[in-house]
């Protein structure tokens, strides 16, 4: 029977996480530390490994993640509390953490549950999973490159007209612009995997046929503003994403490929990549509209999900 392996030193948090994940019906195994977890792996085959942020930068964590993936784990997740946000760059540099949940509370139950259910059910797509029941999503199919600036401006206007702050509208604009731009110019690849539109001037008009069209959806449930961008190439892969998220040279020099993804990540609270290789890439950016900046952690969550064949 598949299981979930939790590695956390604190007994109370172990119990909280166990209660949240126990509802999935999968067996939940608990380890106090990485040594114990590595020993446990000899006898279990977890679909998901959850490691506390305090332990994840240890060299043994990489060993655990590598071994877990070899035994069939779909995702290696880290929970990052307020005390550990300074470790963000180290965690990103590992390139082994596929899912990172930043949580100001002991555990962010909703996001943890959604993440686990997506992995277990192999049902990845749709921003609806992160929004309350009944939330309407506006949808636009982008068929021309020149729609991007217009759509981004319209999104900002609509977000403001629905009572959200200028800060939220500004974040939404940046995220939408970067993700649409990537979907139009970077996602299309030829049979050899070469990206044939990435060097085209971004202000040059491009007609987007059925294959090249890009879908944008967005909605807000008064907790999150969700912006979802989909392309139908499915060329983005896990390693490219993790490299882009971990790029320190974005901060230093601002240059090079992957800057759009890095900026989008730094401009939202949670960035979710849903990948169906060769078929579609869906990126969902979540912006927290409940809490002012001063009540949020100085780090963002991310999730990379790859659909199983």
């Amino acid at each position: 029977m598949p299981s979930i392996l939790i590695v956390h030193p604190d007994r109370k948090t172990q119990r909280v996480v166990q209660r949240i994940l126990g509802v999935t019906g999968y067996r939940v195994d608990i380890a106090d530390d990485l040594e114990q977890a590595i020993r446990l792996l000899a006898n279990v085959a977890p679909v998901l490994v959850v490691v506390d942020g305090s332990a994840v930068t240890s060299p043994r964590a990489v060993e655990l993640f590598t071994e877990a993936r070899a035994r069939g784990a779909e995702a290696c997740m880290t929970l990052l509390g307020a005390a550990d946000t300074a470790k963000m760059s180290s965690i990103l540099a590992l390139g082994a953490v596929t899912n990172l949940l930043v949580h100001p509370m002991p555990v962010l139950a909703e996001e943890l549950t959604i993440t686990v259910q997506k992995v277990i059910k192999n049902d990845l797509f749709g921003a609806e999973k992160y929004l309350l029941w009944g939330t309407e999503l506006e949808e636009t199919m982008i068929t021309r490159g020149s729609q991007r600036p217009m759509l981004v401006a319209e999104l900002s206007e609509q977000v403001r007209s629905r009572g959200q702050s200028a800060r939220v509208a500004s974040m939404a604009m940046l995220v939408a612009d970067e993700l649409i731009s990537n979907a139009i110019h970077n996602a299309p690849v030829d049979a050899a995997g070469a990206s044939y539109r990435k060097d085209l001037p971004r202000d040059r008009e491009l007609e987007l046929d059925e294959r090249h069209r890009v879908r944008m959806r967005w909605g807000c449930d008064a907790r999150y503003l969700a912006i979802e961008i989909t392309d139908y190439f499915g060329s983005l892969d896990r390693d490219t994403i993790l490299n882009a998220l971990s790029r320190n040279d974005v901060r230093e020099s601002g240059g090079g490929a992957g800057m759009g993804v890095a900026l989008a990540y730094r401009s939202c609270d949670h960035l979710v990549f849903n990948l169906a290789p060769g078929r579609r890439t869906e990126i969902v950016a979540l912006i927290d509209v409940r809490h002012p900046p001063t009540e949020r952690l100085n780090a963002s969550s991310y999730n990379v999900f790859v659909e199983r064949a």
């Binding site: 217009m150 401006a153 200028a166 940046l174 971004r202 202000d203 601002g254 240059g255 759009g260 900026l263």
Partner: protein, 158 residues
């Protein structure tokens, strides 16, 4: 449908007033040729948006200004640009920020406002990461700075 439009440049006094979006169409390098007496003064209060292509263009403009030994002064820097100055060190160049907008919120009436901070007059407080006191334009109560000072003011430390 709303369009975000091209960035506009207008000369006003000793400054070039920029407004709109800094994106792939901004052509910021043209600003270098409009510097006067070795100074390039930019009023950025009207900037509404900057994307990654705009950031690249901005960095190139800063590098060109350095190469031309221009002194760059940034006035009334809008919040979207402050966020980039904080996130990407290279955007700062050798520019001197003399004033900038910052987010404030009123605990009494809930109003949020982007308010102008004089970086020179408030330099001592800002060095200690203390945001200057501001009054709510709606109810007159004291407003609170609405971000982490160590994050929002980090661009001033370079």
């Amino acid at each position: 449908m709303e369009t975000r439009g091209r960035m506009t440049i207008e000369a006003r006094g000793d400054a070039l007033v920029l407004a709109g979006a800094i994106d792939e169409s901004a052509a910021l390098h043209e600003l270098i040729g409009r510097a006067a007496a070795g100074r390039l003064v930019l009023d950025l209060g009207g900037i509404t948006f900057i994307n990654s292509l705009g950031v690249r263009d901005w960095i190139r403009m800063q590098a060109a200004a350095q190469k031309a030994s221009l002194s760059v002064e940034l006035r009334r820097v809008a919040e979207p640009l402050v966020h980039q100055l904080n996130m990407i060190i290279a955007t700062r160049g050798n520019a001197r920020v003399t004033s900038f907008f910052a987010p404030y919120a009123c605990d009494a009436c809930g109003r949020e406002e982007s308010l102008l901070i004089d970086a020179l007059a408030s330099a001592a407080g800002l060095a200690k990461l203390e945001a200057p006191a501001m009054t709510c334009p709606e109810c007159g109560a004291q407003m609170a700075f609405n971000d982490f000072p160590e994050r929002y003011f980090s661009f001033l430390s370079s």
